[in-house]
């Protein structure tokens, strides 16, 4: 069975590219789009994949990561799918990729202005935790009525002495829209601010596309007297490469029962451990 280049028919890809352009023009604002069904389940990255399929060309080099890892089941599956329908080259090297599709992480290495990071977004609406109705949240965004979001943070501090939002920490984009950065850890939030690269966000099930263009102000929401803070690794270093400036995964070692810490960005970890270039085109 033959499918069109990059699976989706050309009209669909064109429509999605138009929505992407609109999203770039209004940073942080969610643009509805006619999300298509893919052979990969809703909730498994279909928004990100539709963006990737719509912008990818024959010359592109694709990297796909899930939780920072190139070898995670979902990442492998998506990469296999895009390889099959678009026949593009793939890599695990962050530096060599032109398009990186990600679930829940931003790579440790700084991205350049010729690179695009495509996020898979499960819940695009940052206000959903305080308001279940889409009709109502759209109104709140339109009027920049974010008071209940601030109240939510305040109540969380009163109740738990801490803001309990872990990943998906809401950010203010271009001083206008509160946006969900997708479930990336707070560790990655500062990388969104004034970045060189283009960030695109796709939510397939919820049918929304949004974007952060290069050099856009992105600030985590915080109080003057209760600041945003990233995850605390309590001085632990990566067990494999010794990095102490990366986001670490906590693993319980089966043999000793001890906690071990490893870089979540597996490509970066290998580079640090073995030095320099790693094998492209896996």
């Amino acid at each position: 069975m033959k499918f069109n280049f990059a699976f989706l028919d050309e009209n669909t890809k064109k429509e999605i590219r138009r929505k992407i352009l609109k999203a770039i023009a209004i940073p942080g604002h969610q643009i509805p789009f006619g999300s298509r069904e893919l052979p990969i389940a809703r909730g498994w990255g279909t928004g990100g994949i539709q963006i990737t399929l719509s912008i990818i060309g024959k010359e592109d080099i694709l990297k796909v990561i899930d939780q920072g890892s190139d070898d995670s089941v979902n990442a492998v599956n998506i990469k296999k799918f895009v390889e099959k329908v678009a026949g593009v080259k793939t890599t695990t090297d962050t530096k060599k990729a032109t398009i990186i599709q990600t679930r829940h992480r931003i790579p440790e290495e700084k991205l350049r202005n010729d690179q695009i990071l495509v996020f898979q977004v499960p819940l695009p609406e940052p206000l959903r935790i305080i308001e279940p109705s889409e009709r109502e949240t759209r109104r709140m965004h339109a009027e920049a009525d974010y008071s209940s979001m601030w109240l939510y943070l305040y109540e969380s501090i009163v109740k738990f002495k801490e803001i309990t939002i872990g990943a998906s920490y809401p950010v203010m984009v271009n001083k206008r829209y509160i946006m969900s950065p997708s479930p990336i850890p707070r560790w990655d939030i500062p990388k969104l601010n004034n970045a060189e690269c283009l960030y695109l966000f796709g939510a397939g099930r919820e049918k929304r596309i949004y974007a952060i263009p290069p050099w856009t102000t992105v600030e985590p929401i915080e109080f003057e007297d209760f600041k945003f803070r990233v995850e605390d690794f309590a001085g632990n270093v990566c067990h494999e490469c010794g990095s102490k400036d990366t986001f670490l995964n906590e693993i319980i070692d089966e043999a000793s029962g001890k906690r071990i810490w490893l870089c979540s960005d597996t490509s970066y970890c290998k580079k640090v451990k073995y030095g320099g270039e790693i094998e492209a085109n896996t």
Binding site: G43, Q67, S72, R103, R138, P185, W187, E231, D232, F247
Partner: protein, 363 residues
């Protein structure tokens, strides 16, 4: 150790897929044929076409075989295939009074113009487990068909049109006018646009026609059982084949390009004064294939969502339409199986800090 557990995806995935493929037929050397699925599991085929939003018994049968009978998976495979097909155009409006009828009933009147036809239905069957099916073979099947065919009288006239009961009642001013029900000027296609609320009626009906039977049944049942006020009467339920036509690109005529099996339900309920004088509200349900549970559930929800004041989930358009899609809901619920260790660690960090602060405070 640890590092390997995080890596090593590819081979494990391949093995998982091989195992699944083996289990599809469980090692059976007599694989089920596509024709067998189409003929003997036709309610399943109908359900998958309806939820998969693509009318093709052949493709639906393949999807059912491929998914070993999982309706969610089969509908999902069909939907994914649908995404690869360019949309060439829209059919003209089909009049469902023109129908090659299988079944037509009304529970509102003892007799209706055009007559009632029970057709094939499980409604009148005793649900006794039929142990004779254990030994069904081709000889027995042939005998059964013969008996059935012999009973059919020759030369019976079958009308090509059956009047719509709702239209008769509407003419007599007992049913709300079409303007109350539909305010759309043009078609809103949910496969090309994302829904917004309040959603136009064409989008509402389209979303429900693609909805998951079980999910719609649950919401409709909640409405008629107590979390809602409608107790509808089935004005008319019909099952049969209707024609889809498209405008000829150059000539001023319509061309039939498909004949599809549908189930259509029109319900009467809730007296309303929306047009001044009291009239019945009408609820409409239609879906591909023979699936009466779905068509009736859809019609109930159609009425429920027109409630003047939203009091229950089944009356809330956003609630109903956002949650009845089988492909979306099963996808999202299943995605929790994906690794979440980064997000979990991020939350864990919050928990640790909150715990530390709380203990500090108690001291």
């Amino acid at each position: 150790m640890g590092y390997v557990a995080v890596k090593g995806g590819r081979e494990a995935i391949e093995n998982s897929l091989d195992f699944l493929e083996f289990l599809r037929s469980n090692g059976s050397l007599e694989p089920i044929s596509i024709d067998q699925i189409k003929n003997e599991l036709h309610f399943l085929v109908d359900r998958v076409m309806s939820e998969g939003s693509l009318y093709s018994p052949d493709l639906a049968a393949i999807a059912i075989k491929q998914s070993a009978g999982d309706t969610f998976e089969a509908a999902f495979i069909l939907r994914a295939y649908r995404s690869t097909l360019p949309r060439i155009g829209y059919s003209t409006t089909s009049e469902t009074k023109e129908i090659r009828l299988l079944r037509r009933i009304s529970s509102a009147f003892k007799d209706v113009p055009g007559g009632q036809f029970l057709g094939p239905s499980t409604d009148y069957s005793l649900r006794l487990l039929d142990f004779e099916l254990l030994e069904e073979d081709s000889a027995k099947a042939r005998e059964r068909f013969k008996r059935f065919l012999e009973k059919i009288p020759e030369n019976i006239e079958i009308p090509e049109e059956f009047p719509k009961l709702i239209e008769i009642l509407r003419k007599e001013n007992f049913v709300v006018s079409k303007d109350i029900v539909t305010k759309d000027k043009e078609l809103f296609d949910v496969t090309k646009n994302s829904l917004s609320f309040p959603s136009p009626r064409s989008a509402t009906l389209q979303t429900m026609a693609r909805g998951e039977t079980g999910g719609m049944l649950l919401l409709a049942y909640s409405n008629v059982r107590g979390y809602g006020v409608s107790h509808p009467t089935i004005g008319e339920l019909r099952v049969g084949y209707i024609k889809f036509k498209i405008k000829h690109p150059f000539k001023d005529k319509e061309i039939t390009f498909a004949e599809v099996l549908i189930t259509e339900a029109e319900l009467l309920s809730k007296i309303t004064k929306a047009e001044g004088e009291p009239k019945f509200q009408v609820g409409y349900g239609v879906c591909f294939g023979h699936n009466e549970t779905k068509a009736i559930s859809m019609a109930i929800l159609d009425i429920a969502m027109r409630a003047e004041k939203v009091m229950y989930p089944s009356e809330d358009q956003e609630f109903v339409l956002s949650h009845i899609d089988g492909i979306e809901s099963m996808g999202f619920v299943n995605h929790f199986k994906l690794p979440h260790y980064v997000t979990f660690l991020s939350e864990f960090d919050r928990l640790r800090k909150s715990k530390k602060e709380s203990i500090k405070n108690e001291i």
